[in-house]
Symmetry: C3
């Protein structure tokens, strides 16, 4: 199940990257690159930081073709996508959760080679979940949305903690994933609907620094 | 031959990085850093993503000294460089091709350790070719030029495919490189001359995302 | 001694990152991420480039908790921090020197695995010293301050050269560190006080490039 959600998620993320590239008037190559990085950049960063070589997508060329195709296709269908607004928000939320769970498992699977503490496992999940969006925004030269939006990274953190907690107490993997998805998705959608957000820190420039 | 072209190419790339730093009023250190990253940043990214340790330039300090010197020298001679405009475009195009071919070969040389598919070999070539320019533009806080310019990354893609195709059917390495250079250079210069470019994707901001 | 200075330094760097995030109106998650990256990002970049796996902070979760806590605490106490302006400049200068010395030693400690030349050891020190500030500025979408400020990266360079020089001629490690600190701190504070800076390269846009 996680595999199918992952496929849908990288497609949705690639399309969101393509739209961001379109807002900067990039050419086909730029669109393809940003689509790829938005979908697979978080996992790349995770693999580099954990020392997980070879990096996942280099062993799965089909993911690369999928994200690039989705990005290029977006150039053609962008005008019809506004109606799909809500569907995309749900797909994006599912992707956030799937990415987070996959990221945690990658860190755990490295146990024989490197021992990573729970903190690092959680960070690996969050990097996978939100990293792609950060790359997209840096390449499109804007302040990363994920750093000043409604609950997004927080949902990733919560899902990672819930999933690892349930795993630790020995809950069956399928039940664990289902619970993590239901809880994560509910909170994310509630956050969008009611505009929940974390406290914002506004600091006015002055002489300091 | 590839070695000499590489030396000329990293020098030319370093100088282009220094000019970009100058447009942001950076100090000597900034100029040196951006010159270094523009010339050697693409190869660094490629080595990190492929897991090719130790990273190439760490074993060739002379390349580092060369790029930093070229960057600092540019501070002195920038005012005379406008007349050399055309020569630089040719050097930059030669660098793009040399970097691409070298990048493909690095990925191929890792075969005993990691098996990389042709897609990844092509991507390694392109990363080496266009990566430095992307770093330069991110550090100078502008949307990467390479993502919205005339055929540039596309030339790198084409050269990688041509070079690997000829290699695959067993053409002699020297002939292969010569053909790749002539074809790549012709297309790049024609693209500059006639302003060829890829379709641009312009997407206007609205409520979606 | 280096250990305590390191702890103070990552705390001070984390707080400077949090203030930069506050100027961009980021939420709590953004503040925590930028605090973490400002404090530990330079060392992360160094470890990735040197191939020093597992990356240092993944084996010391307490550093991660410390930097995130310092960042979040800054949200509460920012208004009182302006009076501490001078103290922060001194802490930041001490951090720059401690980071530089630690970075050099990490590169030297990899000798059995990879041989790194003195140039790379110096660069490892500088990356550790100034890398975090560069990440902070890229994520806050501004041209990195360190690339156009008074002597900052230069102090890191000088400290690395002095420390390695004294080490090479066999000076006792404790005396070496003390000398490096006194010299580095004096130059950095003098640079702030008298506004010393490197020559700036200003290049006006024109047709070239």
């Amino acid at each position: 199940m996680l595999f199918y959600i992952y496929i849908v998620a990288i497609t949705a993320e690639a399309m969101s990257g393509a739209l961001a590239a379109g807002r900067r008037n990039m050419d086909m190559f730029g669109v393809a690159l940003i689509a790829f990085l938005t979908a697979l950049g978080g996992g790349t960063m995770r693999d580099i930081i954990l020392g997980n070589y070879p990096i996942s997508w280099t062993q799965h060329p089909s993911y690369v073709y999928l994200t690039i195709s989705a990005g290029l296709l977006t150039m053609l269908v962008a005008r019809y996508m506004q109606r799909l607004n809500r569907m995309f928000l749900v797909l994006d939320a599912m992707g956030l959760i799937a990415f987070t769970i996959i990221g945690c498992n990658v860190a755990l699977s490295l146990e024989p080679k490197y021992h990573y503490s729970t903190l690092v496992v959680v960070m690996a999940g969050m990097m996978t979940g939100v990293g792609g969006g950060i790359f997209r925004d840096i390449l499109c030269n804007r302040t990363p949305q994920v750093l000043r939006h409604e609950l997004y990274a927080s949902v990733s953190l919560l899902v990672a903690l819930l999933y690892l907690g349930l795993k630790y107490i020995g809950i069956d993997e399928n039940i664990n994933m289902s619970v993590s998805f239901v809880v994560g998705l509910s909170i994310r959608l509630a956050a969008i609907y009611w505009n929940w957000s974390l406290p914002v820190f506004s600091y006015s420039p002055n002489k300091w620094q």
